[in-house]
């Protein structure tokens, strides 16, 4: 029996006795002294504390509190609410815990005194329950109704209003009888603006320029200048990257590095060019499905690929694909929809009107993709590729121009092509025990997934029907799930086949196996012999090579067939044919064992060292003298089309192949070959690629991928807005368009709320990930709606939103607070002052770099191994010998945004400052204070570098007198000049240090350079004793709380 009903049953008589009749019970918290609104004040309390047992789904003690009639009628124990008399209302006694045996809610947190006060005031004021909310249909929840633009409220002090934001803020302050704070001083304002918009403090020059600008629009101009700064994109990208759970490694045991920085840079760039938010989301969900999708739009789908990946030995790849799918749904829910849809992975939502079926209908939109890894190019490389293409095109055009009869010649060549032998595809099953997973494909090929061993043999068995086998064919095929589309599993999609061997026997004589001697091998391509690349080092020190296909049957493990034709041409299908000395022929048919030995990987299967086949297919033939087809598969396909039906592009492709076979054109062919050699290497990016066929999506029992139940079609949850086109297909693009539909009740609200949160510490809704029934009512509901509508009306312009906020009087207030005011509003929800917040972890570091002048402001590029305690990345502190080779030179002091994010070994200086790890979507960081933060700031090598650099800079550029220099250093850190007493204290420290140095008590060179025997001399004009004394001062300044606080 449920504990609650047990309580009710027992407690009834007691309760009647216990009901006090006195007018005001001293044990009850007092009613709050304001007008109570049911929907705004009371219903959220009921929803959070009561509905799970007394709501639509469950009615403990036959009592239901989510519908007006039921609530007043009561359940087994009678009427709980007596309008006008809170002290007599049983409900109040339950929640106040007055009765020993009957406390509500029985589990979880008790209501606070304030909440009880609200309920009391509501009852005392007559328990007004508007009919509109009488049904308490969860679909009527405020956040599920599309926002409309509310009228501006009237306020006590219209002069204070700079823009509509202020009207809403002041109206609420008026209600509470509070006044806004005065405007912050100009330096504080500028520093705040810089930290908010770019994440970097202003330079002294910027502060001086701002102070000198006496024009009326000096502030507005500063805003515009900062919104144009490229650092704006870096700063705001970081917030989105939290939500996008960005990280540079896979997570789990192996935690291999991944290339996703193109996505990170796409986000930075999207903010900088003010890509409208609706398009920002559309491209991240379905950029690849947009018409003529550009590379950057495909890169944007990396958003969905930021999920973790497990390639530990023995894993079922499907299990972790499903985990990644759940993670994508979670990210969508948190980052875009603001609904905790993840709950519905296992069951119907407990509070929000979403069913498990609806979850999987939404899931179905995302369930039709390959987990692709695309080759991508930087703008320069793209230009280079365009040049190569153009040059090749020109050479080919000239060939055609100079050869008027090229069409006839090509037709003649086509007619002369020998017929291809008939190949029987052998359906094979895995016999090996190396924990790579072999997944059979519809075309009879095998896709290798999961754990990737590096030196092993793939062992397959099949029983072809062909009788007199004269050749074996191995096709290496592309697959979107392979790196760079394959055909191999290496990090560049290639592979190496060390040995190919065949064993055969009669189906009925299994104990008499014959080794089939292979005497000839042909392939459409084999790279010229070359040493194995260094990333495949197996620590054997043996010379290992790749080269022509003969190497696969030479009986040597150190030589392999290699298929790497270089950038631009390496990721194409290949085929090889192996011919036996004697045809294989058994009376009852043959069983064939194929062994593909792959000994050309590196020593460590936990890194990108595999050189494995990715997708392959085995066939046999009985044709005489079979050889590998030299013609590429895509050309073959064109040849299969009748001449008149070929498109121009197809003819061009055909020509592109044919001319390479024309001996007379050697010079031109060589020139084209030269062009191919210029092809840039590029980088890679995880992205999505739509499958041709839809996967079946089924509701999973309790979210278990092994327990599919009913199949569902793609569709959207009913409590949110409908699809604009009800007949839209089940593609990601449909989902993307739906997410950013203007009718979406949550999309715009959720985003403006998060932006608000970044400025003010808490969102208008304090639970940015959840706008559902469990969420708190917004502190300023009308403001939230006004901002959401204004945001959409501006064309979803994020910069417009920033402009509005930072130009408001609300934002420009001082952050000073009196103890009384702090007590009144500790979380600053009413905004009678500006917030005062410790900046985020990355910015703590960025401030130190900027203040010391070390910061390299370069934008974008691969993630960097920033200086970090080296031992974290080698055993025992790290799993595996991960090479965190500290970046040297100019990249050493780049912004925290570019520090490599390794999931299993988070960057300690960030972790200590609550930087999330990218394990799952995070839309709200915690802010804690730990001694480890202090240790980081005091002693971490980068912060020490900063202290020394700030000292040097101060001595060099900070003026002549101590006062000038101390002021300079102080302003580098805090923007403002020091007060007289601060200057006094700092001077005392400085002078004291100088004395000790003069007395020889300190090694000044060592202190100023950080090295016993300095590699580099101090700059000209900087004396070691001065630099040393200022290093001590700089270390103090960089550690000051004010330095890392946004005021």
């Amino acid at each position: 029996m449920h504990v609650l009903s047990r309580l009710f049953g027992l407690a009834l008589p007691l309760f009647i006795l216990a009901t006090p009749t006195v007018a005001d019970d001293p044990k009850l918290p007092p009613p709050v002294n304001r007008k109570i609104d049911y929907a705004k004040d009371v219903q959220p309390i009921f929803a959070a504390a009561c509905y799970s047992c007394h709501g639509a789904k469950k009615q403990e003690s036959s009592f239901r509190l989510d519908r007006k009639a039921d609530a007043f009628k009561g359940g087994e124990i009678g009427k709980p609410i007596i309008p006008g008399k809170s002290t007599d209302s049983p409900l109040i006694h339950y929640v106040a815990g007055l009765s020993k045996d009957l406390k509500m809610p029985p589990k979880g947190d008790r209501l606070t005194a304030e909440q009880i006060g609200i309920l009391r005031a509501w009852i005392d004021q007559g328990a007004v329950w508007p009919e509109a909310t009488a049904g308490a249909d969860p679909r009527k929840h405020w956040a599920f109704q599309a926002p409309t633009r509310p009228p501006l409220p009237s306020v006590s002090d219209p002069k204070w209003i700079r823009n509509p934001i202020d009207a809403f803020i002041l109206a609420r302050l008026d209600q509470e009888g509070l006044k806004p704070s005065t405007e912050a001083d100009r330096i504080t304002l500028l520093r705040r603006l810089h930290l908010d918009l770019t994440g970097l403090p202003p330079t002294i020059a910027e502060v001086d320029a701002f102070l000198a600008d006496k024009s009326a629009d000096a502030y507005a101009n500063a805003v515009e200048r900062l919104l144009k700064s490229e650092h704006y994109g870096e700063r705001w990208a970081r917030h989105w990257l939290d939500a996008a759970r960005y990280a540079d490694s896979d997570g789990f045991e192996k935690d291999m590095s991944r290339n996703v920085w193109f996505y990170r840079d796409w986000v930075v760039n999207a903010f900088n060019r003010d890509l409208p938010y609706d398009q920002f989301i559309r491209e991240q969900i379905a950029g690849d499905l947009l018409p003529n999708a550009r590379q950057d739009q495909i890169v944007a789908t990396g958003f969905l690929r930021n999920s973790m990946l497990n390639e530990e030995g023995g894993v079922d790849p499907e299990q972790f694909r499903m985990d990644a799918m759940f993670d994508r749904m979670d990210a969508l829910g948190k980052a875009v929809l603001g609904v905790t849809i993840a709950c519905c992975q296992c069951h119907n939502h407990k509070f929000d009107p979403m069913t498990q079926e609806e979850y999987f209908k939404l899931f179905a939109y995302l369930n039709n993709d390959h987990e692709a890894q695309r080759v991508v190019y930087l703008p320069d490389e793209q230009r280079q590729i365009a040049d190569i293409r153009r040059t090749i095109g020109e050479i080919e055009a000239r060939l055609r121009h100079n050869t008027p009869d090229w069409q006839e010649r090509m037709a003649k060549w086509e007619a002369s092509l020998p017929a291809q032998p008939n190949w029987e595809i052998v359906r094979v099953t895995n016999q090996s025990d190396n924990s790579q997973r072999y997944i059979e494909q519809k075309d009879g090929s095998i896709l290798c997934q999961g754990y990737a061993p590096t030196k092993f043999t793939t062992h397959m068995r099949g029983t072809p029907t062909t009788k007199n086998i004269t050749g074996f064919r191995l096709e290496l095929l592309n697959d979107p799930n392979l790196p760079c589309n394959g055909p191999g599993r290496s990090h560049i999609g290639t592979c190496a086949l060390s040995e190919f061997t065949v064993e055969a026997w009669d189906v009925k004589v299994p104990n008499k196996k014959t080794n089939v001697k292979l005497i000839k091998a042909t392939a459409d391509y084999g790279n010229p012999e070359r040493d194995l690349e260094s990333n495949y080092d197996d620590k054997s020190k043996k010379k290992r090579v790749t080269g022509p296909v003969d190497y696969a049957i030479d009986g040597k493990d150190d030589t392999a067939w290699g298929i790497d034709a270089g950038p631009g041409r390496r990721n194409v299908p290949r085929n090889a044919v192996f011919v036996p000395e004697k045809p294989v022929n058994f009376p009852n048919g043959a069983v064939i064992d194929f062994r593909m030995k792959q000994m050309h990987g590196g020593w460590n299967s936990d890194d990108h060292m595999n050189n494995n086949l990715g997708r392959f297919r085995l066939s046999v033939t009985d044709a005489a003298n079979p050889v590998a087809d030299p013609i590429a598969a895509n050309v073959r396909q064109i040849l299969a089309i009748s001449k008149e039906k070929r498109s121009e592009a197809q003819v061009a492709t055909l020509f592109g192949y044919w001319h390479t076979t024309v001996v007379d054109w050697k010079a031109e062919n060589d020139r084209i070959e030269e062009q191919w050699k210029q092809w840039p290497v590029g980088s890679t990016q995880l992205a999505l690629q739509a499958r041709d066929a839809m996967r079946d999506t089924a509701i999973l029992k309790r979210g278990d991928f092994l327990k599919p139940t009913k199949s569902v079609a793609a569709g959207t949850p009913r409590f949110l807005h409908p699809l604009a086109d009800p007949k839209a297909d089940g593609s990601r693009l449909t989902l993307a368009n739906w997410l950013v539909d203007r009718k979406s009740p949550t999309t715009a609200r959720v985003f403006v709320n998060r932006v608000w949160q970044a400025y003010f510490g808490t969102g208008l809704v304090s639970t940015p990930e959840d706008f559902g029934l469990q969420s708190e009512r917004p502190s300023h509901p009308e403001l939230l709606d006004w901002l959401a509508v204004e945001f959409m009306d501006s064309g979803w312009s994020i910069k417009h939103l920033h402009r509005l906020i930072v130009n408001s009087a609300t934002y420009r207030q001082s952050s000073n607070v009196t103890p009384a005011m702090y007590e009144r509003d500790p979380f600053n929800r009413l905004l009678a002052r500006a917030p005062r917040l410790r900046v985020e972890g990355e910015i703590v570091r960025d401030i130190a770099l900027q203040a010391s002048g070390l910061l390299n402001p370069k934008l974008g590029g691969p993630s960097l191994y920033s200086p970090a305690p080296a031992f974290l990345f080698v055993p025992p502190a790290s799993y595996g010998p991960f090479n965190w080779i500290e970046v040297q030179g100019a990249d050493r002091y780049r912004r925290g945004l570019y520090t490599f994010r390794r999931r299993s070994t988070p960057y300690p200086a960030f972790t200590n400052f609550d930087v999330p790890n990218g394990d799952s979507s995070c839309v709200r960081r915690t802010r804690s204070n730990t001694p480890l933060q202090a240790l980081t700031l005091l002693n971490e090598s980068v912060f020490m570098d900063c202290a020394r650099a700030l000292a040097l800079r101060t001595v060099k550029d900070g003026g002549k007198t101590d006062e000038d220099r101390l002021t300079f250093a102080f302003r580098c850190c805090m923007s403002r000049p020091p007060a007289a007493d601060e200057l006094g204290e700092l001077t005392k420290l400085l002078v004291g240090e100088r004395e000790r140095i003069a007395k020889g008590e300190i090694n000044a060179v060592e202190l100023a350079t950080g090295e016993r025997t300095p590699k580099n001399k101090l700059p000209d004009g900087v004396a070691a004793p001065e630099a040393a004394a200022f290093t001590i001062v700089a270390r103090v300044l960089l550690n000051l709380d004010e330095t890392i606080t946004k005021e």
Binding site: T340, Y879, T911, A934, G1010, V1036, E1042
Partner: protein
């Protein structure tokens, strides 16, 4: 949503959590009765030993004579053999000799001659099941209840729930095996969505125990002091100029705690003043056991100093030959080698904790990722594969039935047949002993009040004294 009581304390004022820390510190020093968060506690500190790789239950503590009879025969009647890596082989009897020990008659194999002598102190659970037989997810589950990254570990929950017992050391300390980190690395002691204050702080066994603990060598002591004093003074002024902002006061405090750590931790990890007898007890005099022995001794010292939760690792993930219990190739070769490192120091730690009276309010928990298959991995081979359907853990200390075995796996150790204990249940029980109701220790995150035990977990009443 309204924060929970415990949340309110930390969120309303960052100082709150520090204040709570002090309260508890007072509590520890004043020898006041152990108070729990929700009910009286039996233990106020925890040491969790973790043996990654997967310790074979049927070769250590879960004696299966039936396996000897079925040796070399295929397993039948259990459905399709669930294996992780390879093709299932035949059943294999344990190559180790089992004997009953102590008054309680607990079975222990000859892998642990020392530990066997303390069997009357131990409470075994032979009916554990895990949700995954992959190393990383399984390790995550044992540590956080979830198979995925991103969730706070038990130590973080305990730190969050009970705060610290001391002023100069972290509440949650991790001692990784000197040979290497486990699968998943630092995620195993991550504070997940809990504030960073509650993360496990890993101590290195050589050099600087904590990153950035030491002031850089180029800064002399006097300079460190002068700088720190001015820093403290200026930060205090800043905090005082903004009355009410408790987070600033908390930052001031965090610098003070950092300074204390700088002073105390180096002495803490210096074991030289321990007696020769103690060092022998922990096997520090023997090359094989020295590394783990040092960590065991450090564990005792940290517990004495009031560290709330210590996670002590025996084994890492990466290495060839293996540096953990992942006996795929050869159970004898692997388990003999690992047990030789574990047995003496761990027994030494238990003995020392008992003789110093610490066990009266300490919870001792020995855990692994999962068990190993009763059949071999590959026919005719001497190794065992990962096995999630039955395995053993043991506990000791306050509030438990000593010399007791709970739950049962079937006659060959393949499936649990009596009193299944999930990892959620184990966690619920650990919290229970610490005076915490696992259903009430919550933290609001992602729209839900998150719990260590998710929506599961029952306290294992059967092992409680």
């Amino acid at each position: 949503m309204r924060p929970s009581r415990r949340e309110f304390v930390t969120q309303a004022s960052a100082l709150g959590s520090v204040a709570l820390t002090w309260l508890h510190a007072q509590d520890a020093r004043g020898n006041a009765p152990v108070s729990g968060l929700h009910h009286p506690a039996k233990a106020k500190r925890v040491v969790q030993i973790f043996c990654p790789g997967g310790v074979s239950h049927v070769d250590t503590f879960d004696y299966k004579p039936e396996l000897a009879k079925l040796h070399n025969q295929p397993m039948t009647g259990k459905g399709k053999a669930d294996t992780f890596f390879g093709q299932p082989g035949n059943l294999m009897k344990s190559p180790f000799a089992f004997k009953q020990h102590g008054k309680s008659g607990g079975w222990v194999s000859d892998l642990f001659p020392n530990l066997a002598s303390r069997v009357d102190d131990l409470t075994f659970i032979h009916s554990m099941t895990a949700k995954s037989s992959n190393h990383t997810p399984a390790a995550f589950q044992m540590n956080s209840g979830f198979v995925l990254n991103g969730f706070p570990s038990v130590g973080s929950w305990v730190s969050y729930g009970l705060g610290s017992l001391n002023e100069d050391l972290p509440a949650f300390v991790v001692l990784p095996d000197p040979r290497g980190l486990p699968a998943g690395g630092a995620i195993n002691w991550s504070s997940g969505f809990l504030p960073a204050t509650h993360q496990g702080v890993a101590f290195r066994s050589t050099g600087d125990p904590i990153p950035d603990l030491a002031t850089p060598a180029t800064i002399p002591a006097a300079e460190r002091k002068a700088g720190s004093e001015l820093l403290a003074a200026m930060n205090r002024e800043f905090a005082e100029a903004t009355p009410g902002e408790t987070s600033l006061a908390a930052r001031v405090r965090s610098y003070e705690m950092a300074a204390k750590m700088q002073l105390d931790v180096p002495g803490m990890v210096n074991l030289e003043n321990e007696t020769a007898e103690t060092k022998r007890l922990y096997g520090i005099d023997d090359k094989t056991t020295e590394g783990f022995g040092r960590n065991c001794l450090l564990t005792r010292r940290l517990l004495e100093k009031g560290v709330r939760f210590i996670q002590l690792w025996h084994g890492g993930a990466f290495g060839s030959p293996r540096i953990n219990w992942d006996a795929h190739e050869d159970i004898v070769e692997n388990h003999r080698k690992q047990a030789a490192v574990l047995d003496k120091p761990l027994t030494g730690l238990l003995t020392d904790l008992y003789r110093r009276g610490l066990m009266k309010d300490t919870l001792f928990v020995w855990t692994t990722e999962f068990g190993r298959t009763p059949f071999t991995q590959g026919v005719g081979k001497p190794g065992r594969d990962h096995h999630q359907h039955a395995f053993t853990v043991f506990l000791a200390g306050a509030g438990l039935k000593p010399g007791f075995a709970y739950g049962e796996s079937d006659e060959i150790g393949y499936k649990v047949v009596e009193n299944e204990v999930t990892i959620y249940d184990l966690h619920a029980t650990m919290l229970h002993l610490l005076g915490i109701d696992h259903q009430q220790l919550t933290y609001y995150h992602n729209g839900t009040r998150r719990r260590l035990t998710d929506v599961h977990g029952e306290v294992v009443e059967g092992i409680l004294a």
